[in-house]
Amino acid sequence: MSVDQSDITKVALLARLKIDEADVPQYVENLSNILDLVEQMGEVDTDNVVPMAHPLDAAQRLRVDEVTETDQRDRFQALAPQVEAGLYLVPKVIE
């Protein structure tokens, strides 16, 4: 299965990745090759196979409902590119 430029553009948009126009052909080729590799999956019949999401057939463990975290805003916000008044700032969001 091969992908074309518009697939790359669409996927890059969904994944929020800016791709240089000049690099698009390279991505088209790489992704097409990878998908060709992946196509081999089609060789095997999986009609009655139960999908496996996890290596271990275990169930989710549940946490006791307790507040265990304390305020660490200053520590965490020291990592942030832009904060003000305790808020993370992003370019204006229009609704």
Partner: protein, 477 residues
């Protein structure tokens, strides 16, 4: 053309857990921005979600309360999209296998027959943070305190046929989640939120019309108004030869209209898939039965009991069981009052709710507790005071002047039940009003009331009305 309205609701209830659904951060409302957002809530690298036991229990409780199937196995999935209030770039939700499937709820619009509304599913998910759009030099501020708060999203079938039904359904769910103590129901703080899917179709047509999804319906009033506006808009579009487009519309309560949310240049593609950081949630039969045992008496059951046990009318029982707090209030007051639960019902629905309404107070904030009201009603029932005097006692209690007995004592409101004293007063009144006596005896029965009034006036309303009636009848004959 006659149109049929088709409405389905998606209700988001914040579950009343202490900590978040996947982290140990507090869910308390109103903290300073980002002080209750821990590394997991912030989506920092390397941290992992662990599911809150209590959120699961609450979801199961809801499922059982609406007669739904609590799934033995449900799966958390990632819903992928980028938005500043969604720190991980995906929301952990349930998609293919929700924890609750297939329930129902009976609703009633006043003056109409009861209807059953199907509940498709209810699933657990995490709430997003909040974007604050006030201006920070042209930027938006993001507060992630709310991120990770547990939500139960309750999805109805498209079974409602009017805005009023939608409101009735929403109110019923609102009451139910509070009965179950799984949500505080506070709509102002966003604990209980609603989106509505609205479409219209020609009456008699089976196929559904194209729907729009209305967001931001944060009060019962807005739900009704937004739906009504939207229905009119859709009718106008279709009758004007146009087509309804499937879209998300925001309700603007200031302008009382819905408007299309500018969808970005992309079509949404959420790329749901099972979250590999979480394992399937498995709930066995024993667990589900244990949860079932913790279910409180539900509104419909309570209503039936109020009718049979207290002899209330359908309507009264309905009003009094609309919220668990009100029902509890009534029941406590009625038990203290002893006899005549109908009187208690009238007082609660009339004087009490009226007074609360006037001051914009909730039942939980009432200055007159159920115990106080019950105590006062007991004094009516044992003839210590009359119903009329009780109004005065109630007002005093409302103003914090103590319980009924204290007020009655201090203000000397005790009813006069000494028949000798009443007889004396009646004799005086008859003597002073010969003309009225003559007319009454000549057949003008209406004047009986005049004599009652005179006695009451003379006794400042403290004479026992039944006694007055009996004695007057005797003397006037």
């Amino acid at each position: 053309m006659e149109w049929e309205i088709v409405i389905g609701l998606e209700i988001h209830t914040q579950l009343a857990t202490k900590s978040k659904i996947f982290s140990g951060a507090s869910t308390a409302y109103g903290a300073a921005p980002n002080t209750q957002a821990c590394a997991v809530d912030l989506g920092l690298p390397g941290v992992l979600p662990v599911l809150n036991r209590e959120a699961v229990r609450m979801a199961a409780k809801f499922g059982l309360a609406v007669g739904a199937r609590v799934s033995p196995r449900s799966v958390f999935a990632r819903k992928n999209y980028f938005y500043p209030d969604l720190p991980k770039g995906y929301q952990i939700s349930q998609f293919e296998l929700p924890v609750v499937e297939g329930g129902q709820l009976e609703i009633q619009v006043e003056g109409e027959a009861a209807r059953v509304i199907g509940i498709t599913r209810a699933h657990l998910e995490e709430d997003a943070g909040k974007s604050l759009h006030e201006d920070f030099h042209g930027s938006t501020g993001v507060d992630l305190n709310r991120a990770g708060t547990p939500l139960l999203e309750i999805v109805s079938e498209p079974d409602m046929r009017s805005a009023k039904e939608a409101v009735a359904y929403m109110k019923k769910i609102h009451s139910l989640v509070q009965y179950l103590e799984i949500c505080d129901g506070n709509m102002q703080e966003g604990s209980f939120r609603c989106d509505a899917n609205v479409s219209i179709r020609p009456k008699g047509q089976e196929a559904l019309g194209t729907r729009s999804e209305l967001k931001n319906l944060n009060s019962f009033r807005f739900v009704e108004r937004a739906i009504n506006f939207e229905v009119e808009r859709q009718i106008d579009v279709i009758e004007g030869g146009g087509k309804v487009v499937q879209e998300t519309r925001l309700y603007d309560s200031d302008k009382d209209e819905t408007r299309s949310m500018r969808s970005k240049e992309e079509a949404f593609d959420y790329r749901y898939f099972p979250d590999p950081d979480l394992l399937p949630l498995e709930l066995d039969e024993a667990y589900i039965e244990a949860v079932r045992k913790t279910l409180p008496e539900l509104p419909d059951e309570k209503k039936a009991r109020f009718i049979s046990e207290f002899g209330l009318a359908e309507y009264e029982a309905g009003v009094l069981t609309a919220s668990r707090e009100l029902a509890d209030y009534f029941e406590v007051a009625a038990r203290i009052a002893g006899d005549d639960a109908k009187r208690t019902a009238n007082w609660v629905m009339g004087d009490l709710l009226g007074a609360l309404n006037k001051e914009g107070k909730e039942i939980g904030e009432s200055p007159v507790s159920a115990e106080l009201l019950g105590g006062m009603l007991q004094r009516i029932n044992d003839n210590t005071i009359s119903g009329k005097i009780a109004k005065q006692v109630f007002e005093c209690m409302w103003n914090g002047e103590g319980d009924a007995d204290t007020v009655i004592e201090q203000k000397g409101l005790k009813q006069v039940t000494d028949s000798g004293a009443i007889e004396k007063i009646i004799d005086e009144i008859i003597a002073n009003n010969p003309q009225q006596l003559e007319q009454y005896r000549a057949g003008k029965d209406k004047l009986f009331g005049f004599f009652v009034g005179q006695v009451m006036k003379e006794t400042e309303g403290k004479a026992n009305p039944a006694q007055v009636n009996a004695l007057l009848k005797q003397k006037l004959a």
